[in-house]
Amino acid sequence: MEIKEIQHLADLSYLSFSEEELKKFKDEFEKMLLFVGQVADAEIGSEQEKSVSKTLKDLRRDEVKESLSNEEVLGNAPKARGGCFVVPQVVE
């Protein structure tokens, strides 16, 4: 892996790292990928080669019922105003 690719992953993850951390990450990542890459060698026969599908479980009925209040939902927000979460301005 190249530093450039690690930086791309960091961007995808919304994380920043210093140059030094990126280098350390690169070494660790190579080791980790070598380790988890073992799954590639596993011969598991064709019956499992079908695409991964999920069976739908029982879902809750789609009905209106009491839930958390607006205050409770916003209770942990670092910034809230007028019943809404506050974020930095997005639109000019």
Partner: protein
């Protein structure tokens, strides 16, 4: 009177028979929590006395009391309890106040338990030593120089030191069983889909279940029976089939030994303890069946793909907008995300988010994530066949006793390898228990792990109870 030496049944009976009050008995546990030097408990909840008094009132009125009447319980820091902080061992949730109760907590309270505090843990359950906690590591119950194990390290130490009569942890790759083993107690992870995950901070939802930590098998069984059960709020819950209860008979016991992991066990310094267990059970009439399950050892690689993949998705919600911690100096939305996450997540969490995003990213998805899930399905099918031929699989819980501090953190891959014996039960979704099994040369406890087929918890408890009562583990 030292209430911490009592079993849950003895203690709760004492409450019912008004031999002692919950307020006075629980106070002795709270005192132990307050004077604790292991860093096992992150917070003693201020309202424990109110819960205890309510139990006493019920007892005074001769009302029927639940299975955990007045029993002091500690919950892992990732289990939501309304009006109390649940920080998941992270600075990201340092001030996060649960707006509702997890189903597990609802069930504990309905059984008249007294929840007294929250226990230290590896950050977001990512770790096996409790060293990744943002609030400092937790020391082993029996040695200040050794780790508690993890991720439910605080829970295990709290039980082992008598700070509570039972604890509820979560187990994604061994996080209940491994710390139980390191601290000489019992830890059980139930069948996937039998205990609700509603209100538990998610790490890797397809693998994790809440589990019980207690001094004895019987206590663990009582706790698990309280927290399990249907819940419409968790879509992964399964209909539990009625399993005919079989009387445990060691002479009819068929024990599986899986070649692919037993090979690794053979290199352990503590191997003699486990060979002695097999020998003794064989002497008592059990049949030991060696089975080969190709790729079984690759459960671990599959785990370190599937778990980070889910973690990277689950932890995407921590963006500085909704969950208390945020970067005050961010000038735009992107910066808010990036600075908040960079500042408030620890190194191991970042590592797993990065790994997760990698295995899910375009170009690598098929060869990593998709392949891991296919391998998981393959192994599940194979093990269903194996469990027709054997009643249970026996394994060590860990490679040895609790490691010394600092020995594991330098090399992440080395740390991941430690989970070889515990991860399969999560990959397979089957129940497994760790019970104390002798001591290593340094005097620290070891664990024996028993794994069985789905929904067979009753058998698991019967078998492990027999092992603890009848086998002499000192070699």
């Amino acid at each position: 009177m030292d209430y911490s030496k009592l079993s849950i049944t003895e203690y709760a009976d004492g409450i019912r028979q008004k031999k002692w009050t919950a307020v006075s008995a629980v106070e002795t546990f709270v005192k132990k929590c307050k004077s604790d030097t292991h860093n096992a408990v992150l917070e003693i909840f201020g309202d424990w006395k109110k819960l205890a008094a309510a139990v006493d009132k019920k007892a005074a009125n001769n009302e029927k009391l639940g299975a955990l009447a007045g029993v002091p319980i500690i919950i892992k820091d990732n289990i939501l309890y309304k009006g109390h902080i649940a920080s998941a061992g992270s600075r990201m949730l340092e001030k996060f106040m649960s707006p509702y109760n997890s189903t597990v907590v609802e069930k504990l309270l309905a059984a008249d338990a007294v929840i007294i505090g929250r226990a230290n843990m590896d950050e977001f359950s990512m770790g096996g030593t409790n060293e990744t906690s943002a609030y400092g590591a937790c020391k082993n119950a029996l040695s200040d120089n050794n780790v508690s194990g993890g991720s439910s390290g605080g829970c295990a130490v709290a039980v082992a030191c008598g700070m509570c009569l039972g604890a509820i942890g979560t187990d994604t790759g061994g996080s209940v069983r491994q710390p139980a083993s390191f601290n000489g107690i019992v830890g059980v992870k139930p069948t996937y889909g039998t205990v609700s995950r509603y209100g538990i901070v998610a790490y890797a939802g397809s693998l994790e279940q809440a589990g019980a930590l207690a001094k004895t098998v019987q206590d663990a069984k009582i706790l698990l029976n309280v927290i399990k059960g249907a819940d419409i709020n968790d879509a992964a819950m399964v209909q539990v089939p009625t399993v005919s209860s079989v009387k445990f008979d060691v002479k009819k016991l068929r024990i599986g030994r899986i070649k692919e992991v037993w090979q690794a066990a053979k290199k352990m310094e503590t191997l003699a303890v486990y060979t002695a267990v097999f020998a003794e059970l064989e002497k008592r009439g059990a049949e030991i069946i060696d089975v080969s399950v190709p790729n079984f050892d690759k459960c671990l690689a599959a785990y370190y793909i599937i778990a980070p993949a889910e973690a990277s998705t689950n932890l995407a919600r921590f963006d500085g907008v909704k969950y208390t911690s945020f970067a005050e100096d961010a000038e735009n939305l992107d910066e808010l995300y990036k600075k908040t996450r960079t500042r408030y997540f620890g190194a191991e969490v970042k590592r797993r988010i990065m790994l997760g995003n990698f295995v899910l990213s375009s170009g690598f998805y098929d060869s990593y994530y998709s392949k891991a899930v296919k391998l998981q399905r393959h192994l599940r099918a194979r093990m269903t066949e194996v469990f027709k031929k054997v009643d249970c699989v026996l394994l060590p819980t860990t490679f040895g006793p609790a490691l010394e501090f600092g020995r594991c953190t330098a090399d992440p891959v080395q740390a991941y390898l430690e989970d070889l014996f515990t991860v399969p039960a999560n990959i397979l979704g089957v129940p497994a228990i760790s019970v104390p099994c002798g001591k290593a040369e340094n005097g620290l406890p070891l664990g024996l792990q028993i794994m069985t087929d789905k929904f067979n918890e009753d058998f698991l408890f019967a078998a492990s109870g027999y092992f603890v009562d009848n086998l002499r583990f000192d070699v």
